[in-house]
Amino acid sequence: MYAGFPAYYFSSEMCVACGIRPACCPALPKIQSRLPGETIAVKALAAFWMRLLPFTLLVMIAGILLIERKTPPKTRIGGDGLQSAGTLSPVYASPIQVKLVDLIPASLSGETNQDSEPFLAVQAANPQVMVASAFTPNPVSSSSNAPVYVSQDGGNSWVLNAITPVPRMTCDITHAMPTGENHPRGDLHAGTLACAASITLDESESNDVSSGAIMNVQSTRSNVDQPFVRALAISNSDHIYVGVNDFNQPNGHTATVDVSVDGGVSYKSFSIEARNTAGQDGPSVRPAVAPDNTVYAAFFGWRKFNGTTATSDVVVVRDDAGGTGPNPFQALRDPSDKLPGRLVVKGASIPWSNAPTLGQERIGSTLSIAVDPNNSSTVYVGWADHGRKGDIYALHVRRSTDRGLTWSKADLPRTTISNATNIALAVANNGVVGLLYQQLSAGRWVTHVVQSHDGFATAQDLILASVPADTPVQQFLPYLGDYDYLLSVGNEFRGVFCANNSPELANFPQGVTYQRAADFSTKTLTDGSGNRVAVSIDPFYFSVPVIPRSAFAP
């Protein structure tokens, strides 16, 4: 906790953050219970403080109200600009400029879809251009193409454009925009799954995401799961890495990375699993790419599976030449068996439930990996497993500073997080790591962004949203998504997550901008013509400044 930030903006259990309930202030009963055993002098002192306490609480409440009045979230439609998160910190002498935008456009104010499982791509050449996605159906036709959200002004405003090669709605979509030097609004590479009886992967490209042109499919095949696209800008020949769980691979070695070194014109598929599996690996296969052509990939090596639990290794592979060699991703070998792929964790117990389990969310395959863009020796991996007794699902983060050869033996400080999912890691240019996750806490989904420069020994935890977990009722699974996303752009962490879209100021402590019609005074959504619209799940874009390393306390 950074003392200079108002407690209201952070997640720690301080009285001001959660009301004046005794449960939030364990110190109160402790003070009272200790009094009988103390000396008279101490009793007198305690009595003085007890008399002072109500006044102190009143002052604190007044302070909170004042802060809220000074920083009202934006509620107007189509608003832009940055949102101040509050006062300055002595360790970070600049305002925290948080931008949080509900992606649903004004002209679709009547929609009530469960727009879950978000993703984000930022164009490398012009970061003002971004593409976001979610399980958003084509708004007007079941036969037209599934859309993506496009921003050309750094995320202040977004439009929905139906350019994916998939009919109506994707069943998985991730993407990257590595260059765009020849296409001001282009070079979007996407991996999409179509919601058909035979789920098919398309790897496709758009040279202009603002046009109506449907993305050009460059590669397609069926019987794969969960494409996860990362890319590296190479002039005129972007390197594209698509993690997939490819059921076409022999011997159950399904964890696969599709590699293109020619901008998607051609792809080669490489299994990155070298060990015996329980017939297959877990769904999540996550590449991470550094500018020096170091490519990591993390996956769940499923060793046993009984229908409800996967006994899984968390495996990291590495390639030092951008995956261009004949046998890539074999640079890391585990000392235990000398096989490719470093076992960061062995035999993790991972619950598998394709039913509402963590609140209304399903669980089973939550994984993220991020590499320092300026020091590819430093790499972080995060995953979810069963956690401790009493947990439903728990997040963990570990780090390697020697190119994946050795890893922290235990979770990094503060990164064993109970009943949370949708972990996303990113590392900024200054080496500060960002951690996005969503935690089910006291009946609410709470979305956090944490930053740290020292492996989470010290960290800044910012809450972007805290929304009811029981509304709306899920239409399908995933409720919020099997993933969300975080990346670093210059001095910003940018990301996307999904949440209940009820227009309530208290749900968004950093403020929020709605494009769709919303009345924050009455906490109602409307269709633009004054008719009420039910609460649903919307995708939200955010930008948070990377904290300078010098701002962290020594």
Binding site: S109, S141, S157, A197, N354
Partner: protein
């Protein structure tokens, strides 16, 4: 609602009677096809040429801005009303001048602070005012058009089905793929969670009656995004089932009463209809 419906009915019925409109296919079937194809139909006045109505839409000589006079058809999620400016990417920009009034048949394109559409067809309003026809032709005409569209969808569904069966579900159980086909079966969030229903046949509306009085129908019980819209069956459920031979679950056959039979699937929304639609389905089968 009613005024819009009347308006559309008037336009459509007038167009049917006077097939000399610009930019539109000829004839009643084409008219209905165009109406079906269009997700957004509106009447408006051209206010700008080579322009767009909001940021985020690529401007070109083909884009025009139209002030909406009346919205005749749109999805409920779309915010579009009289007085809004809408961007239309037209097929032939030379056909339009500022001030021209027309009814546009369009498909959605870009949705932001406003709406942009792509023109599928248009008709200039006679006399430059409101479209001809008016409300007098009533909702019956529109209803006829909509019924025609709906019937076409149903006919397509019938045509693509191997069997159309009226029947009742007598049993539902989880179906596990046999070991012989298990190599093709994998675990993912998109797994269908296949269930098999025993369907007692009352009558066959299309196709050859299977051997015996029952058949095996597989359906996904999964709530995953890929399957949540599929019909989910319960014991004693009756209705009309539009079935295809199983090419999805991994095993095309089922065991029923000790016999090996073809298995069928019911996957898409609308592949099951209540018995109240029986007369309609039978009448379409005769066409």
């Amino acid at each position: 609602m009613s005024s819009s419906l009347n308006f559309l009915a008037g336009i459509l019925s007038t167009a049917l009677l006077a097939p000399t409109v610009a930019g539109l296919p000829q004839g009643q079937n084409n008219q209905a096809a165009l109406a079906k194809q269009s997700s957004i139909i509106f009447s408006g006045t051209v206010s700008q040429l080579g322009a767009v109505s909001f940021v985020g839409v690529p401007q070109s000589p083909q884009t025009i801005v139209v002030r909406v006079d009346s919205v005749l058809k749109k999805p409920s999620a779309v915010s579009l009303k009289e007085g809004d400016n809408i961007t239309v990417e037209v097929q032939d920009p030379s056909a339009f001048q500022q001030g021209a009034q027309a009814t546009f048949y369009a498909e959605g394109w870009i949705f932001g602070s406003g709406v942009a559409v792509k023109e599928l067809g248009h008709e200039f309003n006679a006399g430059g005012g409101a479209p001809a026809g008016g409300a007098g032709t009533g909702e019956a005409a529109l209803g006829q058009i909509q019924k025609q569209i709906s019937d076409q969808d149903l006919q397509n569904r019938i045509a693509s089905s191997d069997l159309v069966v009226i029947g009742r579900i007598t049993d539902v159980h989880r179906w596990t793929i046999p070991k012989s086909a298990a190599a093709r079966y994998h675990i993912s969030e998109h797994s269908a969670d296949w269930h098999e229903a025993a369907l007692q046949i009352k009558s066959i509306l299309k196709g050859t009656r299977p051997k015996g009085n029952k058949m095996a129908v597989r359906f996904p019980l999964s709530r995953d995004v890929a399957w949540f819209n599929s019909p989910k069956f319960q014991k004693q459920q009756q209705g009309i089932f539009f079935l295809k031979r199983d090419q999805v679950s991994g095993d095309p056959t089922a065991t029923l009463g000790g016999d090996q039979v073809y298995a069928y699937t019911c996957l898409k929304p609308g592949d099951w209809l209540p018995l109240s639609d029986e007369v309609r389905v039978r009448s379409l089968l005769k066409k």
